[in-house]
């Protein structure tokens, strides 16, 4: 950087050339920073897929590259949702898999670089983060100028709010979705500005790509119409809006319906009705605009009033009528819970049970976007001051997304881009004023010199200038220095946050030994690998849905439920099996052909995300389906406490989950009471649970993953309880009593 600035002074070549060169260098550095700051986890641990969802994406991608594209589209996956199976082609967004499949093929066949598909999947998000920075640059360039664009690009490159979802190894839909979001918005702004059908088409194509990649495309589907609608209300309609919007809508809607998962939703669901409504409105407004240009304005006013009121009433009434008749689907639960924030908690516990669907706390905003969060309102304010058509877009996006991000943690992700853009606008406005020393040195033509060289220059020349100039320069210098400090601090903050908070793979748990060295707890893979190696290939594993994808991905065994929570009843079945007594559970297990049951237990290690802590959600979800058999109240003590120790309620102690979690746990403590480090409660050694219907098959090193094998039916037809009791009594040989009595039995049928 410094060398090129020296060249600028020394060589005095064409300023545009230097600007271009600088831009290229800046872009390369931004992409470098964006990529390298996402590699913490790969360098520290290894190159693996991290969270839960990406394991399915990875598995689907593997299927795509090992089979043909057509087989991928028609893939019926019989290894998940065991009795039901999953029509994968119709229930996933194929954009991510196809993208990495294309990259894999390109590298392999065109560049002769046969890279493992896993590495492509791991490193896809960092690669696309560079592209996100570039498209943010273009978007911001449309809003202000390229200076703001570069600032926004660097913000976007390293802002932790985006890094949190795009570190290396998080092979999730959001990895490419944010890039496509920015690209779509860029083309939209471009199309809206010049009214070009070409850019409208490009918007539609990127929108299609976005639809194929992420379910959050609904955000675009509602944001662009809202933008148009607000512009119409502001009286800013012109024909550019018509060409841009109608092109986008006609092509984009038709294109989005090509994705099997979306299907006819764009015309059937209420989430998409805003776009249709604005499309209709725009036709009428265009006609109105035409009439307005032909007739005197007095007449036009009457025309406008009559037609507008008629149309509004008819449109709204039509929408309500269609929704009431059931032709248009009402809001889906996930979207509805954005408006009525209590809805999910009351009606759909499975949505509320996901930690990402909780409201955001204040520190999270500051944590995720350090100083940008207080530049963000300033940027919005500055947009208001200028208020061109595209600034309306920034304002709407900012306001709407601030609300959504406040309601739901995971929507922080869509807020981050606009925070970066608005902050960059504010900051570059500030730099425009304070970097401009032309009015101080009238003769000096300082075109586009950056902060550092300016400092040296001004210091050198202060001796010749007057005191007033000196003070002016000093004030500018102070402001610039302080903001440079903030910027530098921002980089430190982002790197620190990324390194400490967002770069830990959830598959491998890292902890520190007392001497500071790192110890890695790898129980998950130990257990999954055991499953993979030591169980028959068609064994069915039952676990809570959180681990469905990982079992499918790592253990390669059939699961009953997984993270794609499309069938609530099936999940409730698993929940019921986990939270009811052994007899009831055994019935369910046998009916579903379950061979192994897997529970996560963190009591020994203090790993708090275990199944006992999730247990209440299992109870709630199954209570929603079987309110007669499962009662949440039963799992609390008399005083309403959730306890696992000696005072635990009877239903709790009888539940399969409890028994499986604490089976033989007190053996570890040599007959003393076992200490659960998560709950901080003692498991009494005398009441150690006994299992009759399942037997322990595997327990990992730190007891995190425990796998149980479901016993077969008894050979001579007893129920497993009495069989176990008989075995025990015969082993111990305690009761040597004979009771000769007629058993009370019914008639044999």
């Amino acid at each position: 950087m410094v060398e090129t600035k020296a060249q600028l002074k020394v060589l005095g070549v064409n300023i545009e050339t230097i600007r271009l060169l600088l831009q290229v260098i800046i872009f390369i550095s931004i992409a470098g920073a964006a990529i390298s700051s996402r590699l913490f986890s790969v360098i520290r641990y290894e190159s693996i897929i991290h969270e839960f969802d990406p394991w399915f994406n990875f598995r689907a991608t593997k299927y795509l590259v090992t089979h043909s594209y057509y087989e991928f589209l028609n893939w019926f996956d019989d290894r998940t949702w065991y009795p039901l199976g999953r029509v994968t082609g119709g229930t996933l967004y194929p954009g991510l898999m196809v993208t990495s499949g294309v990259i894999w093929h390109t590298l392999r066949e065109w560049f002769s670089l046969p890279v493992d598909i896993r590495n492509i999947c791991v490193l896809l998000a960092p690669a696309f983060s560079g592209l996100t920075a570039i498209s943010t640059y273009f978007l911001t360039k449309e809003m202000k100028d390229s200076n703001a664009g570069l600032l926004a690009a660097i913000f976007m490159g390293i802002a932790p709010g985006y890094i949190s979802r795009s570190v290396a190894g998080s092979y999730d839909n959001e990895a490419i979705a944010i890039t496509l979001l920015m690209a779509t918005f860029y083309f939209w702004i471009k199309a809206m500005k010049i009214g070009s059908v070409f850019y409208g088409t490009l918007t539609a194509l990127f929108y299609f790509y976005m639809v194929s990649a992420w379910g959050g495309y609904v955000f675009i589907t509602n944001l662009i119409p809202l933008h148009i609608f607000v512009l119409i209300l502001m009286g800013r309609y012109n024909h550019r809006l018509y060409t841009a919007y109608t092109t986008w809508y006609a092509l984009g809607t038709l294109a989005s319906m090509q994705i099997p998962f979306v299907g006819f939703l764009p015309i059937r669901s209420n989430d998409h009705m805003a776009a249709l409504g604005v499309f209709g409105l725009l036709q009428l407004v265009a006609v109105g605009h035409y009439v307005k240009s032909k007739v005197p304005s007095k007449q036009f006013k009457g025309f406008l009033m009559v037609s507008l009121s008629l149309i509004t009433i008819l449109g709204v009434a039509g929408l309500f009528a269609l929704t009431a008749l059931g032709w248009i689907a009402p809001w889906t639960g996930r979207f509805y819970s954005l408006w009525d924030t209590n809805y999910a908690k009351i009606h759909i516990p499975i949505i509320a049970s996901v930690s990402e669907h909780q409201p955001t706390a204040w520190p999270a905003f500051f944590f995720d976007t350090n100083m940008l969060i207080w530049l963000f309102p300033a940027g919005i304010y500055l947009c208001f001051q200028e208020l061109r058509d595209e600034h309306v877009f920034v304002i709407i996006y900012g306001v709407l997304c601030s609300y959504f991000a406040g309601v739901m943690v995971r929507l922080m992700l869509t807020l981050t881009p606009i925070i970066c853009v608005a902050a960059a606008i504010a900051l570059s406005k500030l730099f425009d004023v304070y970097l401009n020393v032309v009015d101080v040195f009238k003769a000096d033509s300082s075109d586009d010199i950056k902060v550092d060289s300016k400092k040296s220059k001004t210091k050198a020349s202060t001796s010749t200038s007057k005191p007033s100039k000196f003070i002016l320069l000093l004030s500018k210098g102070v402001v610039l220095l302080s903001f440079t400090f903030y910027l530098v601090y921002f980089v430190y903050h982002c790197t620190w946050v990324t390194s400490n908070a967002y770069s830990s793979p959830s598959v491998v748990l890292a902890s520190r030994n007392p001497d500071g060295s790192q110890s890695i707890i790898d129980d998950y893979r130990e257990a999954y690998y055991w499953l993979r190696m030591n169980t028959p290939e068609d064994a069915k594993v039952m676990a809570w849905w959180d681990y469905g994808y990982q079992i499918g991905g790592m253990a390669d065994r059939t699961t009953l439920v997984d993270n794609n929570t499309w069938n609530n009843t099936h999940i409730a079945t698993v929940g019921k099996a986990m939270c009811s007594s052994e007899d009831v559970a055994y019935d369910i297990l046998k009916k579903h052909d379950v061979d192994y049951v897997l529970v996560i237990f963190g009591g020994l290690l203090g790993y708090s995300g275990d199944d006992i802590n999730k247990f209440l959600w299992m109870v709630r979800i199954s209570e929603g389906i079987w309110p007669d058999e499962i009662h949440e109240r039963d799992y609390f003590t008399e005083r309403g406490e959730y306890k696992v120790d000696g005072e635990a309620s009877k239903a709790m102690k009888d539940s399969l989950m409890y028994k499986m979690s604490y089976y033989r746990y007190t053996d570890l403590f040599n007959g003393r009471d076992g200490m659960d480090r998560v709950r901080n409660q003692a498991i009494p050694a005398t009441q150690s649970p006994e299992l009759d219907v399942v037997e322990e098959a595997f327990t990992s090193q730190n007891w995190i993953v425990r796998i149980y094998k479901v016993k077969d039916l008894d050979n001579i037809g007893r129920d497993l309880h009495s069989a176990a009791k008989f075995d025990k009594s015969s082993n111990q040989q305690t009761k040597r009593k004979r009771i000769i009595k007629k058993p009370s039995l019914d008639l044999r049928e």
């Binding site: 038709l254 319906m257 006013k301």
Partner: protein, 169 residues
């Protein structure tokens, strides 16, 4: 046209209206518009308009058929109907871009434009910003030449038809 409109602008704020009054105005507005439309028609625009009418008729025909027969292969209906709608809006966009009123590449028009701009600036010098916005509104497609508009139209139509064929199955 633009000139007339912009001169009229300042006088807009004095219009009270009653309930019965607007309907008469509506009718007269429609009739003036229709007359004006007939007058301003060039052969090219006429061609486009005939095509537009044809598209509308086609769309209505399909819709009636669906109402009569039922929408069993729903994707086929949607494909056909949306291709009509899509082609319609694309053609309207093309028409808007062709319409010389909207396009400042016409040199004589440009001169007029500048004169007009000056006159407006003379009238109210204080509101320069507002005027530039309004002038901007009069010529929405500064950057789109008719040739480019046609190229864009072909590009978008090709993509539309590709998707429609894909969707019809």
């Amino acid at each position: 046209m633009a000139k007339k409109d912009s001169i009229k602008k300042p006088a807009t704020h004095t219009t009270g209206s009653k309930i019965g009054h607007p309907i008469n105005e509506l009718i007269s507005a429609v009739s003036t518009t229709y007359k004006d439309y007939i007058n301003s028609l060039t052969p090219r625009l006429k061609l486009i308009d005939i095509f537009l009418t044809f598209l509308v008729l086609l769309g209505i025909l399909q819709f009636i058929y669906v109402l009569l027969v039922g929408n069993f292969p729903f994707n086929a209906f949607l494909g056909g109907f949306i291709s009509c709608v899509g082609q319609f809006v694309l053609t309207v966009s093309l028409r808007l871009q062709y319409n010389y009123e909207n396009n400042s590449n016409n040199s004589s028009d440009k001169v007029e434009q500048e004169i007009e701009e000056k006159s407006i600036e003379d009238v109210n010098e204080t509101k320069v910003d507002v005027d530039t916005i309004e002038v901007n509104d009069e010529k929405p497609f500064k950057f789109v030449t008719p040739e480019r508009a046609f190229g864009d139209f072909i590009f978008a139509s090709l993509i539309l038809h590709f998707i429609v064929f894909h969707f019809i199955n």
